[in-house]
Structure formats: structure tokens, C-alpha cells
Subunit: 121 residues, 2 copies
DNA sequence: ATAACACTTAGACCTCACTCTAAGTCAAGT
DNA sequence: ACTTGACTTAGAGTGAGGTCTAAGTGTTAT
């Protein structure tokens, strides 16, 4: 599969896909001649990366994870620990977002009450 | 209250507090002579900003909100709508983080099973 | 009175994660 | 034959959000 198709499927620009490859996050992708040909494994990795990036996991961490993966079974424990650490960070982030969400809800309620009063006057 | 104390209380650097003021996010703070003296209102605003920033609401949006606030009661509806829009964004973000969290949980489970098997061999 | 420390300013610099540009290759359609 | 359009590369540029520096002015403890 060509880069343009992958780009469409995942809504990630071709530039970004090449960038991810250059920094060692998803490659190297095998080429036919000079043109990248993404296989299913590649797509799975991109899918994972996209999911993690959309939750703001740092690229550096994901690169580290991918490198451990390449190193084989000896790194299973280390990979697990890395994921657990990131999960912890995520839990904190979710709590922060939730706190802001709740606070917004509260404020919106107040505004709605004010608007209602205004209309009654 | 001086900037250094505010900085400690909220764990926001003095640089950042001054930066927020410069860009119109939390000021202007009244000064005694040449030195900022934060009052309770200021602290409340900083508290709100900190909460929203920790959920990644863009600074530009917060500046807009603060400006509407200064403009008085005519902007209540507009402020409400702005908050509702941000709440919507937040809901999306929370869903993304949650999806990543769940995926990590799943993967961690798999690793734990692998590690268990390894130990049994 | 002098050292140490908190404060001030303007503006340069930094990190992250892309995003874009320039210059070029190659294959297919008209 | 030639244009169109997707692909390639290296490397420069961008935007958000701070963070740091330099040079200077008070204020307080010894």
C-alpha cells in the first residue's frame, strides 16, 4: 500500500508518515524500487502509534517502545513496565481533563441560570 | 501577595505568570510601586486558568474568555457558548485518552500473561 | 554599608511535533 | 513528446507555550 493511501486511511499526512519513519518510530518500510510499500504489520503499528499519539504519549516514549520490540523477547518485562508507566500518566491526565470538564459544566449551569433570569425580567 | 508566593502556591513559574499577564490572560495585576500585588480575584482567575490549561485548553481561547468577561453582562451568552464548545472538545479528548488507556490495559494484560508463562517453564 | 535576594523589563531562545520547500525522479495517460 | 501527478530526499520553517538571559532597581539582614 502506498503512502498516499495510508495517509488517507489514518488521516496522517504523508509528511508525518515519512517523519515517523525517519525518527525510527514506524519503519523502516520496505520499498518497491524507490517507493514505500506499507504492509499489514506496518498498518498495525501505525494504528497503535496513532492511538497513543492522540492521547499525547510522547514520541520519544513510543520510539523507545518500538526499539524494545525489535530487540525481541528479552525486553518483554521492560516493555510492560514502560506501558504501565504511561498508563499511570494517562490516568493523571484523564483526571485533569475530567476536573476541567466538571468545572466547565458547573460554570455553564451558572450561565444558563443567569440567562434564564434575564429572560424572565 | 507577591509573585513568588503565587508561584509556589500554584506551582507556576514567575516567568509564566508574567507571561500570562503580558498576553492578556490574567491581568493586569495591580502594583505596589513596581511590584505586583496579587489579590484574591487574581488568584481565583489563576486557579481557573491553571485548571483549564492542565486540560490543554488553548491559551487563545482562555484569553478570549477573559476578554468577554471584562466586557460585562452583554457577553454572558457568548461566554456560555464558548465554554460549551470547549466542553465538547474536552469530551472528545477524554474519549481519546480513555481509548488509549484501555488499549494499554489490554496490552499490559497480554504481557503479564506472557511473563507468567515464562516463569512456569 | 554592603551582601544577598526578590523584583523588574525586553527580548532572545528552547522544545515538541510536525509541516513545508526545493529540487528532482519516474510512470501513466493524451 | 510531453504534461500530469505521485513519489523521493534533505533540510528549513512554523506555532504553541513557555523558559531563560541580561541588565538593572529596590529591600532586608548582618
Amino acid at each position: 500500500m502506498r503512502i498516499s493511501e495510508v495517509s488517507k486511511i489514518f488521516d496522517i499526512s504523508s509528511d508525518t508518515l515519512r517523519y515517523y519513519e525517519k525518527i525510527g518510530l514506524i519503519g523502516p518500510i520496505k520499498k518497491e524500487g524507490n517507493i514505500r510499500n506499507y504492509n499489514e504489520d506496518d498498518l498495525n503499528r501505525i494504528n497503535f502509534v496513532k492511538c497513543m499519539r492522540s492521547a499525547n504519549l510522547p514520541i520519544e516514549v513510543l520510539i523507545k517502545y518500538m526499539k524494545l520490540f525489535e530487540e525481541g523477547d528479552e525486553t518483554i518485562k521492560e516493555r510492560r513496565d514502560l506501558l504501565v508507566a504511561q498508563q499511570g500518566e494517562l490516568a493523571k491526565n484523564i483526571a485533569d481533563l475530567q476536573a476541567a470538564y466538571d468545572r466547565l459544566s458547573y460554570k455553564i449551569d451558572l450561565y444558563d441560570k443567569q440567562l434564564l433570569e434575564k429572560n424572565l425580567k
